[in-house]
Structures are given as structure tokens and as C-alpha cells.
């Protein structure tokens, strides 16, 4: 009996907690429950969620990507540089950013697979490199229309309207101008990654690599290729996050995106606890991101000061990890 209870708790505990949280905030904070508030929560987690989905892919193959935050801010600066200084159209800027993300992922993958650098160290190095690199073209300044360049001229380019549309447009749903574009993109990416990891043979093989790399190799899985692919997916999703951030801000702000890495890693790790998966999974990651968003939104509406936010996120993460690793180990222990 207690075994079944434990099993139930592991499977649905986190989702029940999430529903409980929503019910509590709806009762305690007037205005929390409603489409506008929901759209706001979604918007607040969209970019971290997209990054978290990418890092989930690297976690699946038993790796880790610490460079996602830096890839996102690099994409932010690159898109601004491309449009404001080089005066490219929006499409070119977007393509440049996506290619940059894929390239960084490829380099990460090659460092790990070919040069045998441990994943944490390779991506940590890449993170440093990118944080430094993105400051060099502008001597450490933020990019905005009208800024003075090194040769004394003034940057004439602007963020094009179609680029800003990506970050600022809102789609009509029930209410006019309800759903922001980043949310739509977040949900689409979540769906694609969920299908890819959960239902395709590629996803299955990636999980196999994460669980027993040697065994996966001995059934003929091209292990290295899949690992590199995982890092490239992570790089591309991180650059999408950066593009959306740039489109929302409308300027190449050197200081933004500081929290992206930690928030998205937290979301992916919280995702382990969802449905008792005890492993990285796209659905869990999306729920994990939402969980943090809802908690912060509710607390803000109940006038909790902003500086408590990181503490709350950390507490949720630690609780989720205990939930995942301690309870599941007890469950598998009971199985024998």
C-alpha cells in the first residue's frame, strides 16, 4: 500500500503541487487567475524555457551545456550588430544568429567528442570565450541606433519592424492581442523537442547513449554524431532565445541575459521530477519553467520583494532534486 502511495507521489506529486499553487494564488491574489495573467507568466518563462529545452537535449545524451546563456547573449549582440551597424535586413540577422548557435554547438560537440574535454569544462570554456567575444566589436558598449562608432561615424541602422515583431507581436486569442510571439515560439519548440525526444528513434537512441554509452555504441549507434547533434540543437535553441530577447528589448544591451543560464538549467532539472521521469524530458522541462514562472508571478502579486526571487527558485530546485533522486531511489530499491 505505502509502495503504491509512494509511486503515486513520485508520479503526480509535482503536478499536484503546481495545481495547488495555482489554486492558492487564485484565492489569495485577486487578478492572478485570468488569461492576461497567464499570458504574462508564459511570456516571463518563454525565453528561459526555450533555452531549457535545448539544454534538455544535452542532458539526454549524458552531457551538459553551460554555454547556452552566453550563446543567447551573443545572439542578442550579433543581431543588434548586424542590423544597427551592418544595416542588414531582419532575415539576414536571424539567419546569422541561428548559424552562430549551430556553429557554437558544433564546436562544443567536437571539443567533447574529438578532443575528449569533459562536457562541463568544454562548455564552461566556451561560455567564457563567448562572453568575451561579444564585447570586442563594440569595445564593451551596448548597441543602439545613433551610437558613435570607433571611426567617428554614427550607426544609422535600426531594428527592423519585422524583427521586433518576433518579440513584441501579440496574437489574438479570446482577448485581442493576448498571446505574445515568444510564447508561441516557445510552445512550438517544446512540441517539436517533445516529439523528437519521446517518439522518434533518434530520441530513443539519444536516451540510450545517456544511459549506457558503450552499450549504445555496440548496437551500432553513431554515438559521436548524436552527441554533436545534441549540442547543436542546444546552440540553435539558445540563439533563438537570444533573438527573441533582442526583439523584445529593441537594443543590443550588453548587460541583459545574466540570469538565463541558471534559470534554464533549473527548469530542465526541475523537469526530472515531473511525472516521476527521473530523467531529462521535454514535457518536464516546459512544466518546470512554468512552475517557476507561476510561483514568481504569484509571489510578486502578493507583494513579495523582487530580491527573494532567486532564493525561491533555488529552494524549488533543491526540493525537486530531492524529490527526483531520493524518492526514485527508494522506489527502485523497493522493486528488488
Amino acid at each position: 500500500m505505502s509502495d503504491r502511495l509512494l509511486d503515486f507521489a513520485i508520479r503526480y506529486g509535482f503536478l499536484i503541487l503546481l495545481v495547488g499553487l495555482i489554486v492558492y494564488f487564485s484565492a489569495a491574489a485577486p487578478g492572478f487567475f485570468g488569461p492576461l495573467s497567464a499570458a504574462f507568466v508564459l511570456q516571463s518563462v518563454a525565453i528561459t524555457g526555450i533555452l531549457a529545452l535545448g539544454v534538455t537535449c544535452t542532458l539526454v545524451v549524458g552531457g551538459f551545456d553551460l554555454s547556452i546563456g552566453a550563446v543567447a547573449t551573443s545572439a542578442l549582440m550579433l543581431s543588434a550588430y548586424s542590423m544597427v551597424i551592418l544595416e542588414h535586413p531582419a532575415l539576414v540577422a536571424v539567419i546569422l544568429c541561428l548559424c552562430m548557435g549551430a556553429l557554437v554547438g558544433l564546436i562544443n560537440g567536437l571539443l567533447i567528442v574529438k578532443f575528449r574535454v569533459p562536457d562541463l569544462l568544454a562548455t564552461l570554456g566556451m561560455m567564457f570565450l563567448l562572453i568575451g567575444l561579444q564585447r570586442i566589436p563594440t569595445q564593451g558598449n551596448s548597441i543602439a541606433t545613433g551610437m558613435t562608432l570607433t571611426d567617428g561615424s554614427v550607426a544609422e541602422g535600426t531594428f527592423s519592424a519585422s524583427f521586433l515583431w518576433l518579440g513584441r507581436h501579440r496574437i489574438d486569442l479570446f482577448i485581442e492581442r493576448l498571446l505574445p510571439m515568444p510564447v508561441v515560439i516557445f510552445i512550438s519548440i517544446a512540441l517539436v523537442i517533445w516529439l523528437f525526444l519521446g517518439f522518434t528513434r533518434h530520441g530513443r537512441l539519444m536516451y540510450a547513449i545517456g544511459s549506457n554509452e558503450r552499450a549504445a555504441g555496440l548496437v551500432g549507434t553513431p554515438v559521436n554524431r548524436y552527441k554533436i547533434t545534441a549540442y547543436m540543437i542546444s546552440g540553435v535553441t539558445a540563439s533563438i532565445g537570444g533573438i527573441l530577447l533582442a526583439a523584445r528589448l529593441g537594443r543590443g544591451d550588453i548587460a541583459s541575459g545574466n540570469n538565463l543560464l541558471l534559470d534554464s538549467v533549473a527548469a530542465a532539472l526541475i523537469g526530472f521530477a515531473v511525472l516521476g521521469a527521473a530523467r531529462p524530458n521535454a514535457f518536464g522541462t516546459a512544466i518546470g519553467a512554468l512552475f517557476v514562472g507561476i510561483l514568481l508571478q504569484g509571489m510578486t502579486m502578493m507583494n513579495a520583494p523582487y530580491y527573494t526571487q532567486d532564493f525561491v527558485k533555488g529552494a524549488v530546485l533543491v526540493a525537486a532534486l530531492v524529490f527526483t533522486f531520493y524518492l526514485s531511489s527508494r522506489r527502485s530499491g523497493a522493486g528488488h
Partner: protein
């Protein structure tokens, strides 16, 4: 006759239901090298771990120089004078420290040593130890820069610095080259002359011929043979180790129709003799040999994991040169690897995902895995092999060893193979599952060449039409599995025909 250094009486040890040591008696005399032989799972390692204090005994007694000996832990055993050098050398040395520090490690652990390291004194002391052991390496070199033999010497030298009464060496030559091994043997000779009782665990015949004063053989947790006086009967020792009581499995020997797999002048390494063999369709060939006989290497070559230095392989007359596992599988060569825990099982997956892993492509539409097809194919294989489970979605970890192995073998029976390689298919498998697997492999053998790599003779007798013996990377003999001459087979395995000089030490 002097007092025995170590005496073991009626030693019992179980892990759960697994009765590993069933009343082991053993005595080690000072100044002799006693070789302990035994196949995998015979209980050698457990015996060693009991003697060196890592496991507590369940029954029986140990005594050291006629005094009761009951070490509380590994450190206590060392203090009392029983020192062990374990199989994986890197457990015995600290790679990032230099030679001198490694030699003096015990001094550093000693709480009386004081806080600061007296570098000069430490080096002087280390130099003394190194000289006494005949170690000629730069004491300032990092151990990670040394070769395996030197590391081993250092591990042994450190052990000897405590002037032990009993020294246990667990397969010390398993990663040494011939010249490196010679240096080790010279060291062992010196220690023997100093009156140390040495227990030397190995199943490499060449080592055993070189250094053994006595041979003790273990099988299924008990001593199955003891050879105390020279000349030692090596063949009888191998027989005692492998055992060959006839099993009650009747093999209806197939001759095979047409050749499928052919090896022509294949050399596994530059110094090895060329291997020629042919395996026909419908035939099951067992390749037997001791550890280091080249079995594993041959399996790796056939599955594209390593490259032969010379020679050619053909399948159905077509040249076959696999560069990778993917290549091998594409050519219809499948392999169920040995040691399933490390090499085959995906612990996070259920039975269906584990079983269908190599052939997900054929079970997918587009890239999407069709779960239904996957489950029905798995269910089919579960009933064919008699896997005991609730459903295909049981976690692989919930199955017993035998059933797990059935899943791992079943994985490669999902699609027709041209050549099926089975590396130790009965490893860690109970007798019931072993029969099931053997029967199934024989009944499906038509249309492919099946090659099983195994160490145990009775396993080979149970499954094979033909047994090919490898010794030192060369074919030492070939026997059809019909009225087989076991003595000749054992002689081939121990290499006594190939190396007639081995009788004297």
C-alpha cells in the same frame, strides 16, 4: 617443516542467496609461490577479499603464523602483515604524485608523521626502498608518466616496505607485456628468496609455468585441485579449473552446408601466427581459450571494433573489412558482447526498448517509432525465448541475470544475421536460462554462421557443432563435438602441445 604463513580452514562466504565460497581450505608456506587458478566466478576474488580484510567471513577460520587472524578491514590486514596488490594497478598508486611520494604513501597516512612533509628525508627513504626492490626509475617522475609495469613495481615495492608475511598478487600480468612481466617475475623470485609467502592469482599458463611452486585450483567456490610437488601437472590443473563433467545436453552435430565466414591468414597482432578458419551456414562454432588467448581480440576484429594487422575476412565470398560497429551490422554481422552490464544493458530502458534498440529503424515510420509494432515484436521474442516478465514495459533492471541475458541475445535475433557472434553468452546466467538460450541459438542456426566465444569447456560442449581452440592468438586445435577427446581438448587449451618446454619451471 616450518609454520605455514597463512592457513585458511573451511571458509564460507555468501552474498544473499549466492553461496560464493563453500568451505575453502588453503595454506601458504613461507618462501613459496602458490598459484591460485580458477575461471571467472569461481570465487577467487572473493577469497582474496576475505583474506585482505575487505569482506567478513561467514564461517571458517583464518590463521597467520599460527595465530588467529581476523582482520577488521583492509588497513588492519596490512598492519598484521597480509598485503594485496589488486588487479587494477591504478587502485594501488596515485597517478598525480611522483614516485617517491607513492613509495612513501603509507608514511604520509601515518598519524604520527606530523603536519609538514620533510621532503628530503622522504626522498632519501624512498630511494632506499627503490634500491632494495631493484626499481630503476627517476623518483621525481610522476606515476602517470610511467608504464604499467613500473606502476606495478611501485605498488608492490610499497607493499614490501611493510615487510609483509603474505603477499597476494591478483592477476598482476593481465596488462603487462612479455618483457615487463619478466621484470615482475624477477622481483617475485627475489621476494620468494626473502621468505615471503606469495599467493599469485592468474590463469595465464605462461606465467604459471614460470613461477609456480604449487598450484591450487578453485571451481564453484571450492578447491577442485591441489598440485603440491614438482613436476606440476599443468593439464590436470586446467582440467580441474574448467571441469568437464558431461552435461546432459545432446547436440545433434550439424556439418554445415556452405562456407559463410572465412578467415584467411588473419593476424591479430604483428607477432601472432596467422589464423585460418571457416564457419559454415547453419553451424555453431565455439571458440574456446584462456584469458589472453586472443578470443576477445578476434571477436573485436570481426565486429569492427579493432583492426587485424594482416590477412582477410570474407563473408559469402565477399570481402569484409568492417571499420566500425555500424559497418559490421550493415554487413549482417551482429554481436552480443560479453559483460552485459557494461556493454549491453541500457538500464534506463524497459524490455521492449532494450530488445529493439539495434533495429529501431525497421520499426519506425519516418523517424517515429511505432510503439505497437515494437511491443508486438518484443512480445513474440519474449515467448520464443521464455523470458519471465510481466510485460514488455517492465524495466530491464527488474529481471534476473538470466532473463536480462535472454533480452540481450534476443536483441540480435530480431533480424536475420549472416554471422552471429556471441561473446560469453552464458556469463552470469543460471542453468535454466542457459539451456533456453543454447536451445534457441541452435534451433535458429540455419541460414547463418554462429560463432560463440567462451572460456568454459562445458558451455562449449552444450552449444557447439565444432570447437576451435585459440592459444596465444593462434589456432591450437579443432574438435568436432562428437565423441570428443577431452584430454586432447584440454591439452590444446593449456597450450602444452604448442609449448612442450613448459614442463620444467
Amino acid at each position: 617443516m616450518s609454520v605455514d604463513a597463512l592457513t585458511v580452514n573451511g571458509l564460507q562466504k555468501s552474498f544473499g542467496n549466492n553461496h560464493v565460497l563453500r568451505g575453502v581450505d588453503l595454506s601458504l608456506a613461507p618462501g613459496t609461490v602458490t598459484v591460485l587458478m580458477g575461471a571467472n566466478g569461481a570465487g577467487k576474488s572473493t577469497l582474496v577479499k576475505v583474506i585482505c580484510g575487505q569482506h567478513a567471513v561467514d564461517g571458517g577460520t583464518l590463521s597467520l603464523m599460527d595465530q588467529p587472524f581476523a582482520p577488521t578491514d583492509a588497513a588492519d590486514a596490512i598492519r598484521q602483515g597480509v598485503v594485496t596488490v589488486h588487479q587494477s594497478i591504478d587502485d594501488g598508486v596515485i597517478p598525480d604524485l611522483d614516485v617517491a611520494n607513492n613509495l612513501m604513501l603509507d608514511r604520509l597516512v601515518d598519524p604520527r608523521h606530523g603536519l609538514f612533509v620533510r621532503e628530503r628525508a622522504l626522498r632519501a627513504e624512498a630511494a632506499k626502498v627503490a634500491a632494495a626492490m631493484g626499481i630503476e626509475v627517476d623518483l621525481r617522475k610522476r606515476v602517470s608518466d610511467l608504464n604499467v609495469a613500473d606502476r606495478q613495481m611501485i605498488a608492490i615495492a610499497r607493499a614490501m616496505a611493510r615487510a609483509p608475511k603474505v603477499l597476494i598478487l591478483d592477476e598482476p600480468t593481465s596488462s603487462l607485456s612479455a618483457t615487463e612481466a619478466d621484470r615482475l617475475f624477477a622481483l617475485i623470485d627475489r621476494l620468494r628468496a626473502q621468505g615471503v609467502a606469495i599467493l599469485y592469482i592468474s590463469h595465464r599458463m605462461s606465467d604459471i609455468r614460470r613461477i609456480a611452486d604449487r598450484i591450487i585450483v578453485m571451481r564453484d567456490g571450492a578447491i577442485s585441485g591441489a598440485f603440491n610437488s614438482k613436476p606440476l601437472d599443468y593439464e590436470a590443473a586446467v582440467t580441474a579449473m574448467l571441469g568437464h563433467q558431461m552435461t546432459d545436453v545432446d547436440v545433434a552435430v550439424q556439418r554445415g552446408i556452405s562456407p559463410v565466414l572465412q578467415l584467411a591468414d588473419l593476424r591479430l597482432h604483428t607477432l601472432a601466427a596467422p589464423i585460418n578458419m571457416t564457419v559454415c551456414g547453419g553451424e555453431v562454432v565455439a571458440i574456446v581459450g584462456l584469458l589472453g588467448s586472443g578470443k576477445s581480440k578476434l571477436a573485436e576484429v570481426l565486429f569492427g571494433l579493432s583492426q587485424p594487422t594482416d590477412g582477410s575476412i570474407t563473408i559469402n565470398g565477399q570481402r569484409y573489412e568492417p571499420k566500425s560497429v555500424e559497418d559490421a551490422i550493415k554487413n549482417g554481422v551482429f554481436m552480443s558482447p560479453k559483460d552485459r552490464g557494461a556493454n549491453a544493458v541500457i538500464p534506463a530502458f524497459d524490455i521492449a526498448d532494450n530488445m529493439t534498440l539495434p533495429f529501431l529503424k525497421t520499426l519506425s515510420v519516418g523517424s517515429f517509432v511505432t510503439a505497437q509494432k515494437q511491443r508486438s515484436r518484443t512480445r513474440e521474442m519474449i515467448s520464443r525465448l521464455g523470458i519471465v516478465c510481466q510485460s514488455p514495459s517492465d524495466g530491464i533492471g527488474t529481471l534476473s541475470g538470466g532473463n536480462q541475458q535472454k533480452v540481450m541475445i534476443g536483441r540480435w535475433l530480431m533480424e536475420p544475421a549472416k554471422v552471429l557472434l556471441l561473446d560469453e553468452p552464458f556469463q552470469g546466467v543460471d542453468i535454466g536460462a542457459r539451456r533456453d538460450i543454447g536451445r534457441h541459438i541452435r534451433s535458429t542456426a540455419a541460414g547463418r554462421a554462429t560463432v560463440a566465444f567462451m572460456a568454459e569447456i562445458d558451455e562449449a560442449l552444450e552449444i557447439a557443432d565444432r570447437i576451435i581452440v585459440l592459444h596465444e592468438s593462434a589456432v591450437a586445435g579443432e574438435h568436432a563435438n562428437q565423441d570428443i577427446d577431452l584430454a586432447a581438448l584440454v591439452a590444446d587449451i593449456s597450450g602444452s602441445v604448442a609449448a612442450p618446454t613448459g614442463a620444467q619451471t
